[in-house]
Symmetry: C2
């Protein structure tokens, strides 16, 4: 869609109440004034990443940009999905995070496995949160993907709520179409790291209720399997 066809879309972690006037951050102000070339009197949209969609009226667009919140409503999230993901090879995590956020995943949970760990994830988390915000803005979504701290696979499995439906991406799994009965309110996809899960880890996942799911004819890299699972989930009828 052309940039000029739709109003600017902002992420504001704290969204002022309707009727409030506030000054946009320099970054958001630049985006509104320079990138979107909006003018005073025009509207923009904003979300807090937790389901709110606000309509803003631009009061002043100069050195500083001032907006007033005209209205705000909360949208229901609908079905949710989390991805538990082992570490991919090299620098492949950046676009993995971006794509999961675009596809509407609620939580990205890096899990350390025997064959590969998220050694560099600690320093990358801030960067990934920025990528998730950029994806939210790009896709005009109202829910910001959470980028969680890495944890052990056992801890990641233990943290899951009881009612969640669970799939393990696996070359030898069963094919299945995502349907509303099998998906439920919360779906969790588990993807092994580069090198794959070890036998004990796989047994742990199966014991935790994960069902092997085959996403493609060939074996997929970690990051590809995670995005393919997210696409599989996202394409499900509502």
């Amino acid at each position: 869609m052309a940039a000029d066809a739709t109003p600017s879309f902002l992420y504001l972690s704290t969204l002022p109440a309707p009727g409030s006037r506030f000054e946009l951050s320099p970054e958001d102000g630049h985006y509104v004034a320079r990138v979107c070339r909006a003018r005073a009197g025009e509207t923009a949209e904003a979300t807090d990443g937790r389901g709110a969609l606000a309509v803003l009226r631009l009061i002043e667009v100069r050195e500083r940009v001032v907006a007033e919140v005209e209205s705000s409503r909360l949208e229901d999230r609908g079905p949710r999905a989390w991805v538990l993901c082992g570490a991919p090879e090299g620098e492949r995590a950046d676009w993995l995070v971006e794509k999961l956020a675009e596809l509407g995943i609620e939580r990205f949970i890096p899990v350390d496995c025997a064959r590969s760990t998220w050694q560099r994830a600690r320093e990358r988390r801030t960067r990934w949160m920025r990528l998730a915000i950029a994806a939210l803005r790009q896709s005009r979504q109202l829910h910001l993907m959470g980028v969680e701290a890495p944890r052990s696979l056992a801890q990641g499995l233990g943290d899951l709520p009881g009612g969640a439906k669970r799939w393990l991406a696996e070359e030898d799994g069963q094919r299945a179409l995502p349907d509303s009965r099998s998906l439920g309110e919360l779906s969790v996809g588990l993807v092994g790291p580069a090198g794959g899960l070890e036998g004990v880890e796989r047994a742990l996942a199966l014991a935790a209720g994960f069902r092997p799911l085959r996403l493609a004819r060939a074996r997929l890299r970690t990051e590809t399997a995670a995005v393919a699972w997210a696409s599989w989930w996202a394409a499900a009828p509502p």
Copy 2:
């Protein structure tokens, strides 16, 4: 899967007949001897990227690596998919090509659209072919994805065979699950460029039999939509 659990897997654009001995290229020799640490007497596998799977016996693994083709069989491709894709923003095409190849797409066809063209695709095609070969080896696939030369959207639509099933990735499309009746032998996904298709282009696609398909709740970047469509197709039951 651990590298030592499976035999080396090579791409040989011309695969010698069973019984033949031949010397591997320096690159393949290095891969077999140094990366996979194979030894003389062990086996390796190879494909020509056109459906053949050959078992090789390693005869000599030293400065040079010599193999003999023990057997070769042709595997049926099964359902096929092509992706007609407008140009994404920036440098996003590399991973797009890699992911489509992993997911088993048969042909990647870049199409020039009114709002964005594949200006740099001509110089990139060799690189993309290398990425497709790397993905084939990584996924141990027997069919190499074709990376086609860019063409106009009209040309791309005109080149499609009559029986192909056609989907247009679109934010406002219908949701649909991929099933064997709707997919057929050849499925084609069309994804607009960054900036989207223009109205005339969209009308052209609809007139050519493309059905709008919604892949996710939010709007997706070009390269994300292409990979999501390929994942949607790849997850279909056989």
